[in-house]
Symmetry: C2
Subunit: 363 residues, 2 copies
């Protein structure tokens, strides 16, 4: 557990759980082992205590501020990650005898589709699988069912480094797995019925899933659902013990986003970071982006080097210089730099500098 | 957030999330913001990294040591608390056309029964509801279905302060909600098919649920289950992002239990604490235990004072002296002292001393 690195914070490009703002970690540390005046840590108090309920209320209020949510939106803090939502969404919203549409843009979308197919008719409105998921289907590629209860899409794809530029065109309500780009940019809220996001990439540690659901959409859900899988249970009240610590950290990250200037400022910062990195990739033939240009993700920048062996050396050399977690997803290989909200521009600069050096030495 | 109390750790009798060992909190603090030599906090690394997988392996190994689990047991770290298990258990193990038995000893058992009844035939093998849940049904009171797929019981009842002294007699495999007394005493492992426990009372912070399931029992589960609700998914591999931080803290609490001397030593410590408190309650008419003596819980000690007004003064006066979270559950009132594993004997001594003083002054 010892060593030189133990005293320094690395530039962390982990795809998730991802990096958190340093100031948030410092505050968490300061509030251990005693939180405020409660005489214990935040982990040891009732979830019905005024101290904890104030934290949850603040998190909700910050989400309202950041996204401009009106009162028609319920904010739920659930568990089980996006994987649980893959099943919970169709269980609630795929009506008996009805159908739902899915845009298949990668691993996660396929998993979501699979769980929906257990519940009823789940249609593939479009898929980029034949293109090895290197692009996001255009609106023209979509074959939509006008009567579908919803259109599901995965706004950003961590494995393939692709991202929807804007919401897909559709007259049915959108349901979005926004786990890997939640609060990274502005969205067209009016289009959505439900948005879910595991926290561990853009807004906090693993262990809590944020679900935003519009009241009008919620009312359409099926009847007689298992209590814990019924979104209505959680919209009505704090039903059972929430993942207190994870929500406590999320509240701080939301505050950090507000302080940064809100979504507009965050979006600009994310655009600048991504542009810096993609410009470097495109400036020589040594590095080669894997996603098609129009579908490139601002969150997960995936690229290859001329040879697999060079990629391994790249990852190892980067690590030795304090640039960590750059290895691509085990299913596709290559390099992946995840530059979520909390990744500072300095980390991207350090990576670009390293890429320059590495190409000079090994290119 | 300021005040005298902010510098001192209170004696915390919270029913859950409950108190944690001071040494665990100190270690968590020391490992922020940098964990070992990874260059970031434990919250910011991949759940597939060697550093995190080592933590999970250690937690499993410590559970093996503490409970004497053989290789036939799977250890799962799930999410959603006991409330999710209320549904997941019958979904997996209530066979089509079969039945399951439930012993109803309070709020939590009733909730478990309700979810099972959604899946199929859930029988009430016994209920102490007519006795206001003041006792645990004896083996003689049980009306069991010999063909039931399992017999479900709630080993300890936080609201009513009752606890099974030993496992109920039955030839069918036991399924136990052990959320509020997990690892507090030895159990007859051979009798169980599955044991589940939300961590936030006896073994960690909120956000992770430990499930122990015997392989032979697991094999009996129903087919075609939703992926995340199929215990087989999680027994086979780490399927999705686990609640990393909560498991990290659990691993430390398990180490603390091992260092304390294992389950035998923990059980003796818990017996001594409970005896100290019940002896004080029984030593005058001023305090009156609410559970019948043979069913008294070693974890949640519930009692009344002569008047409601006195109970309110008791809670307030205790708080002013650093004894916190003594108010009974909102559904039953009175006083409740939760003295889970991590509650030190000194806290019980301080409470007994306070009870002496309070009776002298107000009795």
């Amino acid at each position: 557990m010892n060593g030189v690195l133990s005293c320094t914070r690395a530039h962390n490009f982990s795809a998730g759980p991802g990096t958190l703002p340093q100031s948030v970690l410092d505050e968490v540390r300061r509030e251990l082992p005693l939180y405020g005046s409660v005489g214990s840590s935040i982990m040891e108090i009732s979830h019905r205590s005024p101290e904890y309920t104030a934290i949850e209320a603040s998190a909700r209020s910050r989400l309202h501020t950041l996204l401009g949510l009106g009162d028609e939106w319920h904010i739920l803090f659930l568990q089980g990650g996006a994987s649980m939502q893959f099943y919970q969404v169709p269980l609630n919203f795929l009506p008996n005898g009805g159908a739902v549409d899915y845009i298949v843009t990668g691993t996660w979308a396929k998993k979501a589709l699979k769980e929906a197919a257990r519940v009823g008719v789940a249609r593939v409105a479009a898929s980029s699988e034949k293109d090895a998921f290197a692009h996001i289907p255009t609106d023209g590629e979509l074959e939509l069912d006008p009567d579908a209860a919803y259109l599901h899409f995965t706004s950003n794809n961590t494995v393939y480094g692709t991202q929807f530029r804007k919401e897909p065109e559709s007259r049915t309500p959108l349901v979005c797995d926004a786990s890997s780009d939640f609060l990274s940019r502005s969205i067209d809220l009016e289009r959505y019925g439900l948005i879910y996001a595991g926290a561990q990439k853009n807004i906090g540690p693993a262990g809590v899933t944020i679900v935003l659901v519009r009241d009008e959409f919620l009312r359409r859900r099926n009847l007689e659902l298992p209590t814990m899988l019924d979104y209505g249970t959680h919209a009505a009240k704090c039903f059972n013990t929430p993942p207190v610590f994870a929500i406590y950290v999320v509240e701080k990250v939301l505050g950090w986003l507000v302080d940064l200037g809100g979504i507009e400022a965050v979006e600009k910062r994310n655009l600048d970071k991504a542009k810096h990195l993609y410009t470097r990739i495109d400036s020589s033939d040594f590095y080669r982006g894997t996603a098609r240009e129009a579908s490139r993700s601002l969150m997960n920048v995936t690229f290859r080097l001329p040879e697999k062996d060079l990629e391994e050396r790249f990852v190892a050399a980067a690590k030795s210089q304090g640039l960590v977690a750059l290895k691509g997803h085990r299913s596709v290989g290559g390099i992946r730099a995840s530059i979520y909200n909390a990744c500072p521009p300095e980390a991207v600069t350090a990576l670009v500098d390293f890429m320059d050096d590495f190409e000079r030495t090994c290119g």
